[in-house]
């Protein structure tokens, strides 16, 4: 464990004091201006927020072990670490969601006691959670009004409007204040969440993996917003496990590993290699992509879609004239901006969405009108984009969830009993193969986001599937787990399985895919071998040839 980095940094860190003035939120504009001026001058001042010796233990795990952390105003401070490194726990302690077993929190050098999120908000600390807390049936204004600390008995809608407009223009957070939240995209909902925090007068903004749910171009926009907030003296804490993002936007980077601070760096001193070395104790094993197997087109395809069309309801996209074949030993990547039919493509193969036209063949047999059970039984695995809402029963234990897709296989006495030992053996085999570990006897809900994703990957990889549909396979996973998940796909391919890989991570698609299709508006607008194209061309197609969205990549 290397704690030296932190000590030396505290001396070097040229951070200003941005003592927040508590009081009338309407003067916020003034105080911001002052802060941004003050920012350049003060050096070596005390941090806005200081955590000292924070320790928090949960049953079976020490989430935070004497963590020290300094947060300065006018800075983006990235909290980097693997899943389960204790980032979220630490910040939930600062936000009053959990209480530390020991340790102190100092605000402007004064010890404070934060017993609840309410206390935190009084101290002008705000947190943006991974799961949004908006009320879908309310308008943007109503949602924001609900969160205002100075909400009057009679709503001053005009005043709130005005405040929303001022803030949203200043920070590039434009949303229609009258729109219903249910009609907003994920990116827009996030803007509303940020607006909520800003209008409720928060000075310290904690963002828990804000980019997890965003498309690439939305990430860029978010970073622009964060940048302008930083210039106005806000202290921003960014919880993430994506090294690239950290290097792109953070001023100061603290790496947590196993609940302890592994080191703290200024961006100028850090590099990808350094951060990786701090995040993981052992060397990362790189991804081994085996050479593409020669395809024998005389072989029957595992999956064949012929002119498949679907009718989307509500927010769903309709698929139009989809022709697609997946051969044994082939990974077919699906690129596209989310909401262009990727979800529906996976669901139509699974049988959740009905074909209104066209036919679907699995392993040479017509499965167009067969049930999900039959599709599953034929050897199709499915990793959906959101583990907890689409793949698992939250209140059942992890082990019980593991048995769900193959309950018949583990049933004994014709279903009168379940062989949990067999489930456990199978699961532990896969766990070992992937190098994952998590508790099997806790409710699925209590696992961290990354572990929930791992749980689903383990389950779906366990029974040697012939065809794997993987949606956003590595979303929410840290680097090492992501590599393991990808490696598992490659192993499956080597043993003759086919993979439909839906992803927003173009690099992942280019590395893994043997063939790449691009979906736009529910249609396949391009089919490539990865070698014959590049990220920019694919980006063009993904966005209906609007260039700006992919320029960042």
């Amino acid at each position: 464990m290397d704690h030296n980095g932190l000590g030396s940094l505290r001396l070097a860190g040229g951070a200003p004091s941005t003592a927040p003035e508590k009081g009338n939120p309407k003067v916020i504009g003034n105080s911001l201006a002052m802060n941004s001026m003050a920012r350049e001058s003060t050096v070596g001042a005390e941090p806005l927020v200081a955590l000292r010796g924070i320790t928090k233990a949960f049953p079976n795990v020490l989430a935070n072990d004497h963590v020290d952390l300094d947060i300065y105003g006018g800075e983006i401070h990235a909290l980097l670490g693997e899943n389960g490194a204790g980032k979220s726990t630490l910040m939930k302690i600062l936000y009053g969601f959990y209480r530390a077993d020991s340790g102190r929190i100092l605000l402007n050098g004064e010890p404070v006691s934060i017993r609840s999120p309410h206390d935190a908000r009084d101290l002008r600390i705000g947190m943006l959670f991974q799961e949004f807390t908006l009320i879908p049936a309310f308008s943007v204004t109503e949602n924001i009004a609900l969160f205002l600390p100075d909400l009057k008995a009679v709503l001053d809608i005009k005043g709130i409007y005005h405040r929303i407009n001022v803030i949203s223009e200043r920070y590039n957070l434009q949303v229609n204040p009258q729109a219903m939240v249910s009609q907003l995209s994920i990116g827009e909902q996030q803007k509303v969440e940020i607006l909520k925090l800003l209008l409720s007068d928060a000075r310290v903004l904690i963002l828990d993996e804000p980019t997890r749910v965003l498309a690439p171009h939305e990430v860029t926009a978010l970073f622009r917003v964060l940048d302008s907030l930083r210039k106005d003296g806000y202290a921003i804490i960014l919880i993430t496990h994506k090294i690239k993002e950290v290097l792109e936007c953070a001023d100061r980077i603290t790496v947590l590993r196993g609940g302890r601070v592994a080191g703290s760096l200024l961006r100028s001193d850090s590099s990808e290699d350094k951060l990786v070395a701090m995040m993981f104790e052992k060397e990362l094993s790189g991804l081994q992509v085996s050479p593409k197997p020669a395809l024998d087109s005389s072989v029957l395809p595992l999956l064949e879609l012929r002119g498949v069309e679907t009718r989307g309801e509500g927010a769903e996209t309709s698929l139009k004239a989809i022709d697609l074949k997946i051969y044994p030993g082939e990974i077919v990547g699906v690129a596209g901006v989310s909401g262009n039919g990727q979800k529906e493509l996976g669901d139509v193969v699974l049988g959740l969405v009905k074909c209104v036209r066209g036919t679907k063949f699995l392993f040479g047999q017509d499965y167009t009108n067969r049930s999900i059970q039959e599709v599953r039984k034929s050897g199709v695995s499915f990793v959906p984009e959101d583990p907890l809402t689409m793949a698992a029963a939250p209140f059942m234990t992890v082990l019980e969830n593991m048995a769900l897709t193959h309950s018949r296989r583990y049933a004994r006495l014709g279903g009168l009993a379940m062989d949990w030992q067999a489930v456990k053996t199978d699961v532990e085999d896969t766990l070992e193969k992937l190098g994952y570990s998590f508790s099997l006897y806790v409710p699925a809900r209590s696992l961290s986001g990354g572990n929930q994703q791992r749980m689903v990957i383990v389950r779906e990889m366990t029974h040697n599937p012939h065809l794997i549909i993987a949606s956003y396979l590595t979303r929410g996973l840290d680097v090492q787990s992501a590599i393991a998940a990808r490696q598992a796909l490659i192993q499956a391919r080597e043993s003759g399985a086919g993979v439909l890989l839906i992803s927003e991570d173009l690099e992942e698609l280019f590395t893994l895919s043997d063939r790449l299709i691009v979906l736009y508006g529910g249609k396949i607008v391009g089919t490539f071998e990865p070698e014959e194209t590049n990220i920019y061309d694919v980006g063009h197609l993904m966005t209906g040839s609007e260039v700006q969205h992919v320029s960042k990549y």
């Binding site: 689409m390 769900l404 379940m418």
Partner: protein
């Protein structure tokens, strides 16, 4: 981790049972206090009234046996609600299913009366279950097709079933011997469930207890229980995982209907010995209340059914001793319901 695989299940059952018991105690304490206030307003002595209720039911063998008699259909009706609730279905149709079960069982008793009891009784039970499950099949099918929510259809069908039964009692099945009371002829002795200890407690109690164990075992240990809990926990995930949702919806709701039908059969065969209108004073609805109060826990259902039977029996006593209308029982039940609805807030306070 060499953890015994069974431990987590066992501890969780113990903990949830303890929790349920504590919850009951609080609920009933608050409910009785509120009820006492209402009795005070009505000018009665609440302490005496409540004392009367308990002493007359619990301190005499006969009173106690009558509580058990009332408890029998309540347990059936409660499992009929609890089972579908495990997959997220809300079956308020217990009352209607109970009537239809009694109706078809009566048909069996009248048609096959020459048969010996060891054939006739199982046949009547089967018919009772078929009657109840057919009545439940209609909402189940509509729900599985995604057409109508089962909450509404099961509730509304409760108003149809008693009318249908009444039609038969006034019409084709009316006993010619009795001009005053509309009812069917008395069942033959072979169509009556055996009773115990010279009381009215009948074989239904044994079936109840077997069913409770069956229900607990199925939910806890079988493949079907696992899949049902998965559906109840997250229907979308269950569907994606290849669990046949529509089949389960239909099967489970029909099974619930069958159990409610069995309640109807056991009432007419065990207690009344004939079919008469209004033979159920809302057992189906009480079953819903019980299932809900106990959170589907089998031991909770047993305890809660006993308490409910106690309350309703006590109502009869209050009527006689205190000159109170039977409606006071409904008031007590309503208060209990209110306290349950208020549960989340004071339960949270308890944990902290």
């Amino acid at each position: 981790m060499s953890q015994n695989i069974d431990t987590p299940f066992r501890t969780s059952l113990l903990i949830s049972t303890m929790r349920v018991i504590v919850r009951y105690l609080i609920i009933f304490l608050v409910a009785f206090v509120l009820f006492g206030v209402i009795l005070l307003i009505a000018g009665k002595d609440p302490v005496l009234a409540i004392k009367d209720t308990f002493s007359s039911t619990l301190r005499s063998a006969y009173g106690f046996s009558e509580v058990i008699v009332k408890m029998i259909p309540l347990i059936f009706a409660a499992i009929a609600v609890a089972l579908p609730s495990r997959v997220g279905l809300i079956n308020i149709g217990g009352e209607g299913q109970l009537y239809m079960g009694a109706w078809l069982a009566t048909w069996g008793a009248l048609t096959f009366s020459p048969l010996p009891p060891w054939i006739l009784l199982p046949l009547m039970m089967l018919l009772g279950m078929i009657g109840g499950s057919l009545w439940a099949f209609i909402p189940a099918f509509l729900r599985a097709r995604g057409l109508v929510n089962e909450t509404i259809t099961t509730l509304l069908m409760n108003y149809v079933a008693p009318s249908l039964v009444t039609f038969f009692i006034y019409g084709p099945w009316r006993s010619p011997g009795n001009a005053l009371y509309p009812q069917t002829v008395d069942f033959v002795p072979a169509a009556r469930l055996p009773t115990f200890w010279g009381t009215r407690v009948h074989l239904g109690l044994v079936i109840d207890l077997v069913l409770l164990v069956w229900y607990w075992y199925v939910m806890k240990y079988t493949r079907w229980g696992l899949e049902m809990r998965a559906i109840g926990g997250n229907p979308q995930a269950a569907r994606r995982n290849g669990i046949p949702l529509t089949t389960y919806i239909i099967m489970v709701l029909c099974l619930g209907g069958a159990l409610a039908g069995l309640a109807g059969m056991s009432e007419i065969s065990g207690i009344h010995g004939r079919l008469r209108p209004g033979f159920s004073p809302g057992f189906g609805y009480l079953g819903f209340l019980i299932s809900w109060l106990s959170g589907g826990n089998p031991i909770g259902i047993l305890v809660m059914s006993f308490v409910m039977a106690l309350v309703t029996s006590g109502g009869d006593i209050l009527q006689i001793n205190q000159g109170l209308p039977f409606a006071v029982v409904n008031i007590l039940l309503a208060i209990t319901l209110f306290v349950v609805l208020a549960r989340p807030s004071f339960w949270k306070g308890m944990k902290a």
